[in-house]
Symmetry: C2
Subunit: 265 residues, 2 copies
């Protein structure tokens, strides 16, 4: 295609508030073009107040095939899907929606899958391993579910917010049983260390764990997408741990989203 | 800007049914980029049934600054503008809408202006001239108004549909008085010949007038955007008439639309 866009271009939109900071329009559009699709992901600045009305209307645009959902709409968007994956159902949230070939809107939540895929792509093995998850917020919830779905034998979760931690552990135990525990944030005892806290985002030197207790065999994954290397990733690199950064996770997530958006064909 | 689109991209959309054939997304987007705007015009396939709901919702998207309206929505869109230009008001139709700096939606109808601008850009003079307009449909109505607004001394209109002709002549006379007449499609008596019929679109050889009676001094304008030269334009070229093609008109129209869409800043 010679033009940036033409009358035959198929549309995808990302809905968020704020929107100016999102990287998906550039990255997903590049990924769509790399697959020879005449398609584009455009940013829509949508407030919570307007979200329901706008989603209903967007569904009526005939050449709009899917949506990417970002903060603060992931939970609200769930209600706009006629069908969702089991993980989206469990999380009560979606970050992608597509119009199926039968015209039904389907939703999925890829956030945790991006994290897991980034580790698998680096050659890390998760099945049967003992994993420590730091952070029980939105990212931690999606990643915890994805790690259990990927077959970790044990998932131990830590969060400084005790009530948030108890809620997530209880919720995951309902689905995955006693593979889920809570515990101290000591990486020594684990094969996998997943940071889903913002530690390192504002201050690269800040670590969510005692890095002296990180073993060289432990797989390290970080959600932080700071400019520059976080203390956690720097320690993993210097000790020879397999690791994936927040940027690796984000890249894998973008690919997961594109696969989902295009697979209704 | 390196990317096709990013989180800061400002949005414009063209609404029509069908939409795949429209050229504005490519051309207007190129024009926006040539003005160093991080902005894009995307195609929205919107049916008449869904038009009202979709326009209301699009107005709530905070980074969407304007709309281009094409067939069959130009009359319906008029009702969605809080303010319109005098010509849009007269025609009861708009082909562009923008969000003003005060948040009010303003509309204009540029279709006739594109035709007039294309002639003026070629050095043609319209003020004080006698003009013959062929075709009293949507395009003819907009062009007739624009020719009168541009100062032609006389506008004689011809259409094979007598009731449509009478309606347009009557309507234009209310606003422009006896400068407006109906008459035979004989170019000999006129300084300006405007073709707003589809003659030449399906068959390049078909002419809306007797080309033997075209004088070399007569300015010729054609709305037909066929691939290849219409008989009317070919005759104008061979006789040495100043002329503008449907493509010239379309280019001028695109520029008019971009100027309108951006001038709310």
């Amino acid at each position: 295609m010679e033009s940036i866009v033409d009358g035959k271009t198929r549309l995808f939109a990302i809905l968020g508030d704020p929107i100016a900071q999102v990287k998906s329009p550039a990255q997903v559009t590049a990924s769509l073009r790399a697959r020879s699709r005449n398609a584009i992901l455009v940013p829509f600045h949508v407030t919570s107040e307007d979200f329901d009305e706008i989603v209903l209307a967007l569904k009526a645009i005939r050449n709009l095939d899917g949506l990417v959902i970002t903060v603060p709409h992931k939970f609200t968007a769930f209600r706009h899907c006629a069908e969702t994956t089991a993980r989206a159902e469990f999380l009560g949230a979606v970050n992608v929606m597509r119009r199926s070939s039968s015209g039904v809107w389907e939703g999925d939540m890829c956030d945790g899958r991006g994290f897991v895929d980034a580790i698998l792509e680096k050659g890390g093995v998760l099945a049967g391993k003992r994993a420590l998850l730091l952070g029980a917020g939105g990212a931690g919830t999606a990643i915890g579910y994805a790690l259990l779905e990927a077959g970790v034998a044990e998932l131990s979760i830590h969060d400084i917010d005790r009530s948030r931690l108890d809620e997530l552990v209880g919720k995951l135990r309902q689905r995955f049983g006693d593979r889920v525990t809570d515990g101290a944030p000591d990486p020594m005892a684990f094969d996998v260390l997943a940071n889903a806290t913002p530690a390192g985002m504002e201050n690269l030197q800040k670590s969510p764990v005692d890095l002296d207790r990180l073993r060289p065999a432990t797989i390290v994954g970080d959600v932080v997408t700071a400019t520059g290397e976080t203390a956690l990733i720097r320690a993993a690199r210097s000790k020879g741990c397999p690791f994936s950064t927040g940027h690796d996770m984000y890249q894998a997530l973008q690919e997961k989203m594109v696969e989902f958006l295009l697979s209704s064909d």
